[in-house]
Amino acid sequence: MILALSRTEWTLLLRNKTAASLALGMPLLIGALLVANGSSDWTFTITLQLVMMLGFTVYMTVTTSLVARRQDLYLKRLRTGEASDPVVITGLLVPTTLLGLAQAVVLLGVTTFAGAPLPDRPLMLVLAVVGGAAMCCAIGVATTGFTSTPELAQITTAPFFFALLGGAIWPLVADSVDLRMLLVPGGPLAVLVKAAWGGPTDHVGPAAVALAAWVAIGCGLAVRLFRWEPRA
C-alpha cells in the first residue's frame, strides 16, 4: 500500500515541472557550483550541499506537494480508502526522502571526485543525513498547517529554510562550537559533518540530542497542525 502511494506520488512529482525542477535540479545545481568554485574547506562545501538537499528537496518539496495534494482534495480522497492516516503520510513522504538521499550520494560522489577526502567517521555523516531528512520531513508536514496554497509555500518555508542554512554556517565559521549553535536547526548538522571529516567530537553527543529534539518537535507540531482538508 505504501509502495502504491509512493509510486503515484513519484509520478506526480515528475509530472509537475516546477516541483520537479526544484526538487531535482536546484540542489544538484548549487552543489555542483560549490564544487566548481573549488574549495580548501571541504567540510564547508559538503555541509552546504547537504543543507541545500535537505532544504530544497526534502523540506520545501514536502510542504509544497502536501499542500498541493490537500488543495486538490486528493488527501481527502486518500482518507476514504483502506490506507490508515500514518500510511498515507508515509507513502507521500517516501519519494521525496529517497530522492534527497540519492542526491546526497550523488553530491558526495562528485565532491569526492573533485578531490575531497572520504569521511573518517562515516557514521556521523549518516546520522546527519538521516536525522536531517527526518527533521525536514516532520517540519515540512508541520509547515503545511499554516500554508494555504502551494504558491504560498515559497514564503512559509523561508524561515525554517534560512534557519537551516544559517544554523549550518554558524558553527562552520565560528572559532569554537557553543551550545547556542545547536539550538538552531542547521547547527547540529554542521557539527556532525565536521566530526565526520575528522573535526572535534566533543559536541557530537549534544548535537545528536539536539537533532533528535528537532525531529520530536517537528512531529509534535505536525500532528497538531496538519489538516486533511483545505480550510473552508
Partner: protein
C-alpha cells in the same frame, strides 16, 4: 422506530459540532442489509456531516454510530475493506490518467476487482489514457463512483452522486446503483434531487437544521402529505359554487383552483360529478399524489415539525 432484523448501519443520537455550531443535533436511523436509504435535506441541513460521521471521517460530539456492527473510527481498519465512500467533493491528482488512477486505487485496496470492466461499466473506456485534469465534470463524477464501487463493497456511501451531471449521465449512474442493489449492496445516498430519491430509495429521511424532520418508506412519507387537484377557472369565478370537498380549496390569483386533499379519489369524483352535471369543462385539470417536493416544502415551511 421499527427494529430491523439485520441492521448494517445504526445511528443513535448522533451529534456533530464545528466549534460552537452544532451541525447535527441528535439524529437516529438504521439501514438494513441490501436496502437503499436516502438522506435528503435542505442545504446546510447536516446531510454531509452526518454521512461523514457514519463513514468514520469525522469525530462525533455525541451519540453512537455502528457500521457492520463496529465503530467506524475505532475499528476503521476492519471496516474500511468492506465499505466504499464517494464524497460530495473530493479531488484527484490532476496529472494522473484515468487508467493510472484506477490501477493505483486497486493497489491500495484489499478487494479484488476488474479494472477494465469497471472502466467500461461507467463509460470511461474511451477516456482511459486521458489525464484527469482534462475530464469533464460528469466524467470526473463517474470516475469518483467507479473508485467507490471498485471491488464491490458491502456498504456504499454516496454523497450527492449525480450533482452536476447531465440527464444521460444521471441515468447511467442510476443504472449502476440499481445493479449494485441487485447484487445485495447496502447503500446510503444523499441527494437534493427528489426524483432521484423517489426512483432509488426504499426509505428516506429528510433532514432539516441538524435533525431528521420526516422519515419512513417513500410511499408512507408521501401518503402523509395531501394530494393535489388543480384546474383553471374563468375570471370572476366564485368558488362557492363548487361542491363540498374534504380538502382545502384555494383560488389562486392566476385563475386556478388548487385543492389539497387527503381524500383524492372521493374529492376528484365529487368534482367531476359536479362538472358533468353543470356542463363545465375543467381545463388544465390535474390530479396527483403528493410528491417528495411537497414533503420537502412542508418540512421547510414547518421547521419544527418532527414526524416520526
Amino acid at each position: 422506530m421499527v427494529v430491523m432484523r439485520d441492521p448494517v448501519i445504526q445511528v443513535e443520537g448522533l451529534r456533530c459540532s464545528y466549534g460552537d455550531f452544532e451541525a447535527v443535533r441528535g439524529v437516529d436511523f438504521e439501514v438494513a442489509r441490501g436496502e437503499l436509504f436516502g438522506l435528503l435535506g435542505t442545504n446546510g441541513a447536516g446531510k454531509t456531516t452526518t454521512l461523514e460521521a457514519v463513514e468514520g471521517l469525522r469525530r462525533t460530539s455525541g451519540g453512537v454510530v455502528r457500521v457492520l456492527g463496529s465503530d467506524p473510527v475505532a475499528d476503521r481498519k476492519a471496516i474500511r475493506p468492506r465499505i466504499g465512500i464517494m464524497l460530495q467533493d473530493s479531488g484527484f491528482p490532476a496529472d494522473l490518467t484515468v487508467a493510472e488512477m484506477v490501477a493505483f486505487w486497486r493497489e491500495t485496496s484489499t478487494r479484488t476487482s476488474d479494472a477494465d470492466a469497471a472502466i467500461e461499466a461507467l463509460d470511461l473506456g474511451h477516456r482511459r489514457d486521458v489525464r484527469i485534469k482534462q475530464l469533464s465534470g460528469g466524467e470526473r463524477r463517474r470516475l469518483d463512483l467507479l473508485l467507490a464501487t471498485l471491488g464491490g463493497p458491502e456498504v456504499l456511501f454516496l454523497d450527492e452522486p449525480t450533482t452536476g451531471l447531465d440527464p444521460e449521465s444521471r441515468l447511467r449512474v442510476w443504472d449502476v446503483v440499481r445493479g449494485l442493489l441487485a447484487n445485495g449492496t447496502t447503500i446510503v445516498l444523499t441527494t437534493h434531487y427528489l426524483e432521484e430519491a423517489e426512483a432509488l430509495a426504499e426509505r428516506i429521511a429528510i433532514m432539516h437544521r441538524g435533525r431528521i424532520a420526516v422519515a419512513g418508506r417513500v410511499a408512507d412519507v408521501l401518503a402523509r402529505q395531501p394530494a393535489r387537484i388543480g384546474f383553471d377557472v374563468p375570471a370572476g369565478f366564485d368558488v362557492g359554487v363548487l361542491p363540498m370537498l374534504s380538502g382545502d380549496v384555494v383560488h389562486e390569483p392566476s385563475g386556478r383552483v388548487e385543492v389539497r386533499t387527503a381524500e383524492l379519489q372521493r374529492d376528484l369524483g365529487d368534482l367531476l360529478d359536479w362538472a358533468r352535471a353543470d356542463g363545465r369543462v375543467l381545463t388544465g385539470l390535474r390530479a396527483n399524489h403528493a410528491s417528495l417536493d411537497d414533503v420537502f416544502h412542508a418540512v421547510r415551511a414547518d421547521g419544527k415539525a418532527v414526524t416520526r
